[in-house]
């Protein structure tokens, strides 16, 4: 469903992604891990069209989406969340979802919004101001809600569980699993907590200094000596 071929992303002199290739199959839930600054968020930004890569191709559902502007990526079915929640200011929670649905999915469907709000536990806050009246967990839920409202086929979650307490995190992870099954999603999840990754993702890839250094089951990947070294701060030769 998603095929990245030799994606390079440079910011001035810094190469955040280094000729990176990756493919994600339909229906797969992929964990994306790696130390801070490895390039994980940059990868999401390139896939969702926030940045145009310096090189490489991005195919989604068989189509080359590399030239599509950001707003069109949403319309072809790429949904994502931001590491730092980005509510639409001045709007309520429900209005946030309405905008996402109207423009991302193409038409308004109040019943579908009700379902999303229910699944994410936001129904009671739907008329609250999105930018000022949500607790952290609710802000994260709204991030997921907006991405779901565009009716994505691929959902990319950037540390959506980060900063949550353990118990909340577990509940949220279960919600994500429910959402995935309900909407038949392909998912890529950036997450630091190994237990959470193990619970959600049958396959994990590890990014370090903009390069993939491991790809496999959580058990195999987290026991890989190179992966362990990357977390203890070694630079590649």
């Amino acid at each position: 469903m998603l095929e990245l071929d030799a994606i390079t992303m440079r910011f001035g002199g810094l190469t955040a992604l280094h000729a990176m290739s990756l493919s994600v199959a339909e229906g797969e839930t992929l964990g994306l891990v790696g130390p801070n600054g490895a390039g994980k968020t940059t990868l999401f930004n390139v896939i969702s069209g926030v940045y145009a890569p310096s090189g490489g191709t991005i195919r989604f559902g068989g189509q080359d989406v590399g030239a599509l502007p950001q707003w069109k990526r949403a319309r072809v079915g790429i949904g994502r969340t931001f590491q730092i929640p980005q509510p639409m200011r001045e709007l309520t929670v429900r209005e946030n979802l309405r905008v996402a649905q109207r423009f991302g999915a193409g038409k308004e469907d109040p019943a579908a919004l009700d379902e999303i709000l229910d699944l994410l536990g936001l129904a009671h806050k739907q008329h609250a101001d999105a930018a000022t009246s949500l607790a952290l967990t609710e802000q994260k839920a709204l991030e997921v809600g907006k991405a779901l409202a565009v009716r994505p086929r691929l959902l990319m979650l950037d540390e959506v569980l980060g900063g949550l307490e353990m118990a909340t995190k577990r509940t949220f992870a279960r919600t994500l699993e429910t959402v995935r099954a309900r909407f038949g999603l392909t998912m890529v999840i950036i997450e630091h907590d190994i237990e959470t990754i193990k619970a959600l993702c049958p396959r994990v890839v590890v990014l370090n200094f903009g390069q993939l250094i491991a790809d496999g089951t959580p058990e195999a990947v987290f026991n890989d000596p190179q992966v362990i070294r990357s977390y203890t701060g070694d630079t590649p030769a």
């Binding site: 423009f103 991302g104 907006k146 565009v150």
Partner: protein, 319 residues
């Protein structure tokens, strides 16, 4: 319900009481018409500012293009005036397309670019002599027709016409603002990334607001041409067609639908009827001070300020 009542009373006053009480005073009616003309442009300007997030210093260009388009269609091609006025709006909308490359620019750069466009259109009007009469301008532009037994060329008729135009525009503005387009536009200023990532084509939406705003301004410009029956480039593209509406919109509250219209009425009428009487020269100074004071006292404008006061009053009364 209460809102409906307010609207109804305002409509009765505007269409009934004003012409009945002031209809015989030509000078006052002229001032009210002029105030509504500025109010119409102020509303259009504020729509672009509030929904599009764009500050324009170039609305005089749309005003002038609308005025000329309509005048030329009527004088040279014998179009009916009211239809030509709509065409004037379309002309201004088309002209706004020429300014679209500037949409990529942000903040003051957009404002400056559109200011430059304004001058280009004025120069075109001077140079295209065969079409526009050049610097000498156009004289004896036909006035408004009689419609449904109302002579729109009379002061009262012209008043009813510009009032109707402004009300229609305000209604359209409200409609856009309440739609999902309006929601997306409101969210765009502070949260452009958040809106784009869910599929909002923000540049297209801004462009659409520019076109609508230009259309409205063009219609008002056309109204003005047929009301005063005369045009020249200095007048039609005068920077006051940009500056006065901006002042009115900011004074009244540019993020509200009615603020700009209210602002135009208050600012213009108070300036002309009170300050100009008191100090025939330099009354604009008072106007400047008034605007400055407003920005300091109520940076959101008069209408939001009144809203706050009336809420306070209500809570005092309730206590």
């Amino acid at each position: 319900m209460k809102h409906r009542m307010v609207v109804l009373v305002a409509l009765v006053l505007a269409y009934g009481a004003v012409p009945l009480l002031l209809g015989s005073m030509d000078y006052v009616m002229s001032l009210i018409i002029a105030a509504l003309t500025i109010g119409g442009v102020a509303l259009a300007w504020a729509l672009l500012g509030n929904l599009g997030g764009l500050v324009s210093f170039g609305h005089a260009a749309f005003f002038g293009v609308g005025a000329y388009t309509s005048a030329i269609l009527v004088v040279d091609h014998h179009w009916p005036v009211l239809l030509a006025m709509v065409a004037g709006g379309v002309g201004a909308a088309v002209a706004s397309v020429a300014t679209m490359p500037a949409l990529r620019l942000r903040g003051p750069y957009f404002a400056l670019a559109i200011l430059a466009y304004g001058h280009i259109f004025r120069i075109l009007a001077v140079e295209a002599t065969s079409l526009t009469g050049g610097a000498a301008g156009m004289l004896s532009i036909p006035g408004f027709p009689t419609l449904l037994g109302i002579n729109l060329a009379s002061k009262t008729g012209a008043y009813a016409l510009i009032l109707t135009i402004v009300l229609l525009f305000a209604w359209l503005y409200g409609l856009i603002r309440r739609s999902t387009y309006g929601l997306a536009l409101r969210a765009m200023h502070d949260s452009e990334l958040a809106t784009r990532v869910v599929g909002v084509p923000s540049t297209h939406l801004k462009a659409a607001m520019l076109v609508i705003s230009a259309f409205m301004t063009g219609v008002v410009g056309a109204f003005n041409a047929h009301q005063i029956n005369f045009l020249d480039p200095e007048y039609a593209f005068a920077s006051s067609w940009t500056v006065l509406p901006i002042a009115a919109a900011i004074f009244g509250g540019y993020r509200t639908v009615w603020g700009p219209v209210l602002g135009a009425l208050v600012v213009f009428l108070v300036d002309q009827l009170v300050f100009k009487e008191l100090m025939p020269s330099g009354h604009q100074l008072v106007f400047g001070v008034l605007l400055g004071g407003m920005v300091i006292l109520g940076p959101h404008g008069l209408l939001p300020l009144l809203g706050r006061w009336s809420k306070k009053e209500a809570s005092h009364a309730g206590a």
